[in-house]
């Protein structure tokens, strides 16, 4: 008597026809989850350089304040007067108590305006700040 190995009639193998769909899904997932929140910066600035700079690990905590070379101040998408910084900063702190205000200040600015901004931030109790600076090589 001959023993014969049973061979199943179905073909083995993973169907490859849905592979593009899976990859498209991945692509779309990444495209959707990527946050492209690019704020139009309306002021001109060039950052100062420093040696002892630290990297900011948590970008979600950051909130930016720009001060341009013409001493205009921008937060989010609008140019604002100095006096309204404290209100905005207070709102930001309400939403996120650990907010770090990143000050992107033109290196030619005067300390007067920088100090005014800092006083406003103190008033709003947003005390963690970061002077944005480039790494000096």
């Amino acid at each position: 008597m001959k023993f014969q190995k049973k061979i199943s009639s179905t073909t083995q193998g993973i169907p490859m026809s849905s592979l593009p769909d899976i990859i498209f899904m991945l692509l779309i997932f990444f495209m959707v989850t990527t946050v492209l929140r690019e704020v139009d910066v309306q002021v001109q600035y060039s950052l100062p350089e420093a040696v002892s700079v630290e990297k900011i690990d948590n970008k979600r905590l950051l909130s930016y304040i720009w001060i341009g070379s013409d001493e205009r101040i921008q937060i989010d998408d609008s140019i604002i007067p100095v006096g309204s910084i404290s209100n905005i900063a207070y709102q930001k702190r309400m939403n996120n108590p650990n907010v770090i205000m990143s000050l992107r200040i033109d290196k030619g600015s005067r300390m007067g305006i920088v100090s005014d901004v800092q006083q406003e931030l103190r008033r709003a109790d947003a005390l963690r700040i970061n002077y944005s600076a480039l790494v000096k090589l």
């Binding site: 990444f30 040696v51 002892s52 200040i105 030619g108």
Partner: protein, 169 residues
């Protein structure tokens, strides 16, 4: 009677689709730049309505003054910006309780302010690094979180920001 001739369905070969999708994915992966924000961290003092004057022994204060053209005065003596680091290291070693009172005028350029702040930060960084090596035998980026906290506690950054004054005309 007319009968439509049956034709085989036109087909697009879909085997290349996966490759196209892969190419797109790779393109986005490669072109996305994640720029890291760098800067100098600082914690502002809390706002108080009636600033309480706290008397500090004058021995424990280093007065750092910067004028509108960027000359730096350290305790009434003029000092070059690159020398601040070494000077401060020596002073903090001599007196660990030293508070640096950093004052500018309203017309001081921000660049000079950052340069001086950078020097102060570098001085503290060097001191912490030294402490870390002495105490734990490791550079600061290799110690654990607890040790890092201890280093920060032992050598706190005592920088007092005074409000800029109007330059005298």
């Amino acid at each position: 009677m007319f009968r439509k001739k049956k034709r085989p369905m036109a087909e697009i070969s879909s085997s290349g689709m996966a490759d196209i999708a892969f190419l797109l994915l790779l393109f986005f992966l490669v072109t996305t730049t994640i720029d890291v924000d760098t800067g100098i961290d600082l914690v502002l003092p809390p706002w108080v309505d009636n600033a309480e004057q706290v008397a500090v022994k004058s021995d424990n204060i280093a007065n750092l003054l910067v004028n509108e053209v960027g000359d730096v005065l350290l305790d009434e003596k003029i000092i070059g910006v690159p020398q601040i680091k070494e000077e401060m290291i020596a002073r903090i070693k001599a007196n660990p309780k030293l508070i640096i009172s950093y004052k500018t005028v309203r017309d001081t350029p921000y660049k000079i302010y950052i340069d001086v702040m950078d020097q102060l930060k570098m001085a503290y960084e060097a001191l912490r690094q030294e402490y870390s090596r002495e105490k734990f035998g490791l550079p600061m980026d290799q110690v654990n979180e607890e040790q890092l906290q201890e280093i920060r506690r032992t050598i706190p950054q005592r920088i007092s920001l005074a409000e800029p004054t109007q330059a005298e005309a």
